[in-house]
Symmetry: C2
Subunit: 121 residues, 2 copies
């Protein structure tokens, strides 16, 4: 079936809560997810998969145990599997994630910021 | 190992040729590739994998057998496996691809626009 264009700005406009990934597309068994980030997330890691962060708007800091990486719009990073990280957004930031279907946002950490999985917009 | 930020604009500035994907990051066995597109590509499909196009700057048209989809900056599409498509850029356009490692740009079609694979920048 012929696919259609996905407009990131329109998709971001359709939700408002923070740290709650929305799925916008699947590629094989991988998912593209949009997240609005604000404040401090939890330290966590994903034992079984790498995870890509692409900053669409704003600035995202990702703390690692040895240093902090700052990502502005138009920048991305791939966090390797098993590497502990903590995303922080001083102001609201719009990011796109790419990871296998089924990955939970808080990884091994769990807790109150754990979001419902596989929520499509 | 702690990863570093990847700046898309800086990566795009490091090469000039068209339809020749450069790998900028790997996520598990998938690769993020940057392409500068200009002119008409060839009709082709990829039998074994979906393929994502994310337009970073400019406008990309993708012809399908039944219609044409126009993608502007900030828009993306996932072309399902086996679906014939032909990218066209009326003016130079900067795009990011996401697909499994090893995918050849011209898929089943081959020909003169087939680019060397797995070229990193």
């Amino acid at each position: 079936m012929t696919p259609t264009a996905i407009n990131l700005e329109a998709k971001f406009a359709s939700f408002g809560d923070h740290w709650s990934p929305r799925v916008i597309a699947e590629l094989n068994d991988y998912q593209f997810k949009l997240v609005k980030a604000e404040g401090e997330f939890v330290w966590h890691s994903h034992a079984d998969t790498d995870e890509a962060f692409i900053v669409i708007e704003g600035t995202l800091e990702i703390e690692f145990r040895d240093r902090t990486v700052t990502l502005n719009a138009g920048e991305m990073i791939v966090v390797p599997r098993g590497v502990e990280h903590r995303p922080i957004a001083r102001e609201e930031c719009k990011i796109m994630l790419l990871e296998p279907r089924g990955v939970v946002n808080t990884g091994d950490a769990g807790g109150g910021l754990t979001a419902e999985n596989d929520v499509w917009i």
